[in-house]
């Protein structure tokens, strides 16, 4: 196997921080090369150096691509050489069509400088065929799901005669089916001669697809593992990433379950804009003090919709059903009422729904419980700072100061800020929607530890997740949700991934299994 890319002792410094110190990376021709590392390890910085976001001269070291030393001054330079990067946050324009997006910035112009759209659409259709996406190239991108948008990004890369494709967390937002499709596509592209670098936190995915894996920790290359070797286990990768053994990916907890705290009965919710379309049908579930309850469901099953409609009717309309808090029926018609009844909801989409990225950590932590700091309507700024510092310490938010902007934190630390914010409202029930999405292994463990501390303090926790091993690892009981219906309830001892998946894929018209047949 010949080498297509060699990065030699790359060092990149920011004022006061050494982001990369002497990183080496060898990528072979026609291989799928995974890069693993915790958030902040330097993966993204390395890829930015490679793609020319950080131009030649702003870093030390050498990049050899296809046998030649290259010096990229911008992204355009690297794209000219066939290096294309697809970022985690997709860069598609929602209102433009598939074809327009594919050729955006790369339009083929005719003699008058005009674009021949028939030709463009035709070529777009060919590219879509290659990535296995059966959509009309004139469809506006916003009508397509994330999985399909990801494929359009790849089609866009293919239109640029890509030799080396870099994907940053390509499956983070995808469900299992879409992920599997994407990984198949990468294999097919490899066989066509395209080399891939994939950055991912999903270790099973890496084990599945990568030919070799390079581990980066604290800005240094730890090792490159040939994935065909027998000892290339997930544990070995984790050990390399965190620099220590994680005896267990889920911290141990002895459940001490108390009284029922929250019960939802016959909960039905309609779609906010499409009249008559029921998103949640007749769902009932409960959670007790000291208990972690999981809600498992595929994307689109209505997990977030269920949680948000319970949390102060934040989603949907024509909401029917009853919320019982500590055995008493209560009204939660808006978020402040929900907070008053000591219910908290930490969103799956931190950046859009969870944080004010313009503001500092301190103000974000106090934002939901601000009234406690302001008995007379005036905020006690000193007390606020103290509270923020306390949470920074107890949840181990890694930041030089709580006055730092929250947008600058890594995903794991942002999630800790979101959890701090809700813990400060002193809730009895916490609904955590995908609490570990986009978070690296080490930080995940910390989040699980925080969840354990919450239930140890007598709180009830509901975890919504699409990662079944996670639910099985941390929950006491799991509900399955499919097409807006609760299709099953299993104590964790009786639950397996297969059993859960079966219940999660139960079609709308299939009869629900009876209690007896489940257990």
């Amino acid at each position: 196997m010949s080498t297509i890319l060699e990065m030699r002792s790359i060092t990149k410094e920011f004022p006061g921080v050494k982001a990369l110190s002497g990183v080496d990376l060898d990528v072979g021709e026609q291989e799928i090369h995974a890069i693993c590392g915790e958030n902040g390890a330097g993966k993204s910085t390395l890829m930015k150096v490679l793609s020319g976001v950080y131009p030649h001269g702003s870093y030390d070291g050498e990049i050899v691509f296809e046998g030649e030393t290259v010096r990229f001054g911008s992204i355009n330079d690297s794209e000219d050489q066939g290096i294309v990067i697809i970022h985690q946050e997709l860069a598609l324009v929602p209102y433009l069509s598939v074809a327009e997006n594919i050729f955006l910035g790369n339009e083929k112009r005719g003699p008058l400088g005009l674009i021949d759209w028939n030709d463009a659409n035709h070529r777009a259709a060919e590219l879509l065929e290659r990535v296995g996406l059966h959509e009309n190239p004139m469809t506006p991108v916003q009508q397509l799901g994330v999985g399909k948008q990801q494929l359009i990004e790849i089609a866009k890369a293919l239109s640029k005669k890509v030799r080396l494709l870099i994907l940053d967390e390509p499956t983070a937002a995808l469900n299992d089916t879409d992920s599997a499709h994407l990984l198949d596509l990468l294999r097919a592209l490899r066989d066509e001669g395209i080399t891939c670098i994939i950055i991912s936190h999903k270790l099973n995915e890496i084990a599945d697809i990568a030919d070799r894996t390079t581990i980066i920790r604290d800005g240094e290359t730890i090792e490159t593992i040939d994935m065909s070797e027998p000892d290339s286990t997930q544990d070995r990768i984790i050990r390399g990433m965190v620099g220590r053994d994680l005896e267990n990916r889920y911290p141990h907890r002895t459940p001490e379950i108390g009284e029922e705290v929250l019960r939802i009965e016959n909960w039905s919710v309609d779609h906010p804009t499409q009249a008559g379309r029921q998103v949640i049908s007749d769902a009932s579930f409960n959670v007790r003090a000291g208990e972690v309850v999981g809600i498992a469901g595929l994307m689109g099953a209505g997990r977030t919709e269920l949680a948000m409609s319970v949390f102060g009717h934040s989603y949907g309309r024509n909401i029917r059903g009853t919320v019982y808090k500590d055995g008493r029926a209560v009204q939660v018609r808006d978020v402040s009422e929900a907070i008053r009844h000591k219910i908290a909801y930490a969103t799956e989409d931190r950046k859009r729904y969870g944080l004010n990225l313009l503001d500092d950590i301190r103000h974000n932590i106090s934002s939901a419980g601000l009234r406690q700091l302001a008995p007379g309507g005036w905020v006690n700024a000193n007390e606020e700072l103290k509270v923020a510092e306390e949470y920074r310490e107890s949840l181990n938010v890694k930041t030089p100061h709580v006055l730092a902007n929250v947008g600058k934190l890594s995903g794991g630390n942002q999630q800790k800020v979101v959890l701090s914010k809700w813990l400060y409202t002193d809730p009895d029930v916490l609904i955590l929607d995908e609490p570990t999405r986009g978070i690296d292994v080490g930080a995940k463990y910390e989040i699980y530890t925080i969840i354990n501390k919450m239930v140890a303090a007598g709180k009830a926790v509901i975890v919504i997740s699409s990662e079944l091993p996670e639910l099985l690892g941390i929950c006491d009981r799991v509900y399955t949700l499919a097409f807006g219906r609760i299709t099953g309830e299993l104590p964790v001892a009786e639950a397996t991934q297969e059993r859960l998946m079966e219940l999660m894929t139960l079609e709308r018209d299939q009869p629900l299994p009876t209690k007896e047949s489940i257990s």
């Binding site: 920011f14 004022p15 921080v17 949390f311 102060g312 934040s314 808006d334 978020v335 402040s336 929900a338 907070i339 909801y345 969103t347 859009r352 729904y353 969870g354 944080l355 004010n356 990225l357 313009l358 503001d359 103000h363 934002s367 939901a368 601000l370 009234r371 302001a374 309507g377 005036w378 905020v379 700024a381 000193n382 007390e383 700072l385 103290k386 600058k408 914010k421």
Partner: protein, 392 residues
């Protein structure tokens, strides 16, 4: 850390805020050097009287902008409220305070009207206030029957043209004015000291005592010098008192109250605010109501200063107020901005206009310069943000 290093550290960390102060100071020094009359007692008084209504508008505007909205109608509201007050006082012969009250009520109703459309119907503030700009201008013409009404005279005239002086006698300067300024400086020092003590009690880092004293002395010196200048002319302008009270109240409301903090939360991330229990619609509604009331205060001050209500009054005021906010560091997308910044931004505009007028720069050129300053101020802000981002 010695005093100078401490000051430098403070200035570099707060380049965004301190940059605007430095620019303001540089402008003042520049005009003072170019024209000896610029810092005269007469001219300083003039600047306050002439731009007070823009500053009052900018207070409300910065809150609207922080909430992620914009209000283009304030110029028309200034005209409408002045007109209503003129009809009440001049045409109907009612006492001055009835005129003031009528103007405030009209401002309140305007605010409720616009707040309703923005908050509860969900129309962007840009559109609602663009409509309001035409609507209230038209109503002004209707109320005034297309003619100017003047003069107010009496107490109403005194609101923007009156001075407090002679209450404690004079010795070539007005003692009363100096006493008020002295009280203000003492109040400032005490509040700063208490805030510092509070921080120490919470074991937070504070500037060294030397730096703290230096800061207080500097502020006190500038303020007392300004007060002395006023006292050698006609004393304390009533408008300055109104303005000072508004600035202090609104600086506190925006920085320290739950309501103020919710405005920042809504402007910073509306969805996150909503999911944190902030009643977003209510916040938007009250921000516009507040803007309406402050526009009516500006309308009262302006009509009083003109001693008349004219159908075309307040034209383009909205742009001056908006420019003041952006020069003062407010973000065009909401979530960032301060009352203090907007005031400095407004003063920069005021000092530039006034300074250029004194130098006899033609009106056309003044507009060119003002436009460029607005552009450069925002460009500086963007450059500064990039610098901060790359310094991570």
């Amino acid at each position: 850390m010695n005093v100078i290093a401490g000051a430098r550290d403070l200035a570099t960390r707060h380049l965004r805020e301190s940059g605007i102060f430095i620019a303001f100071a540089a402008l003042v020094i520049l005009f003072a050097a170019l024209n000896p009359n610029f810092l005269s007692a007469n001219n300083l008084t003039n600047i306050i009287l002439q731009y007070s209504y823009i500053l009052i508008l900018a207070i409300g505007m910065v809150m609207v902008i922080v909430a992620g909205q914009i209000d283009l109608s304030v110029g028309s509201v200034v005209a409408l409220t002045g007109a209503v007050s003129a009809v009440v006082v001049i045409r109907m012969g009612m006492p001055w305070y009835v005129g003031v009250l009528a103007a405030l009520v009209v401002g309140l109703l305007v605010g409720i009207w616009q707040g309703f459309w923005v908050a509860y119907v969900g129309i962007p503030g840009f559109i609602v206030s663009l409509a309001g700009m035409l609507l209230f201008r038209g109503l002004t013409y209707l109320v005034l029957d297309n003619v100017s009404l003047s003069p107010f005279g009496g107490t109403y005239y005194e609101i923007a043209n009156g001075f407090l002086n002679g209450l404690l006698g004079g010795m070539g300067f007005d003692v009363f004015t100096l006493v008020i300024f002295g009280i203000a400086v003492a109040g400032y020092a005490v509040s700063q000291w208490r805030s510092r003590q509070g921080k120490i009690a919470y074991q937070q880092q504070v500037e060294t005592l030397g730096l703290f004293v230096l800061k207080i002395v500097l502020v006190a010196a500038v303020v007392m010098w300004f007060g002395y200048q006023l006292s050698t002319y006609r004393g304390l302008p009533l408008v300055l008192i109104i303005l000072a009270v508004l600035i202090i109240v609104y600086a506190l409301v925006t920085q320290k109250s739950v309501f103020g903090r919710h405005i920042y939360a809504v402007g910073g991330n509306r969805h996150a605010a909503e999911l944190s229990g902030v009643k977003v619609r209510r916040i938007n509604f009250w921000v516009f109501v507040n803007m309406g009331v402050l526009a009516s205060v500006a309308g009262i001050v302006y009509s009083s200063r003109m001693n008349a209500a004219q159908p075309g009054a307040g034209n383009m005021f909205e742009l001056d107020a908006i420019a003041a906010c952006f020069i003062g560091g407010a973000s065009t997308t909401g979530g960032i901005g301060r009352v203090g910044g907007a005031m400095i931004g407004g003063l920069i505009m005021a000092v530039m206009s006034n300074g250029m007028q004194l130098m006899g720069v033609p009106q056309s050129m003044q507009q060119v310069v003002k436009g460029l300053v607005l552009l450069l101020a925002v460009a500086f802000d963007i450059w500064n943000k990039k610098r901060a981002a790359s310094a991570r």
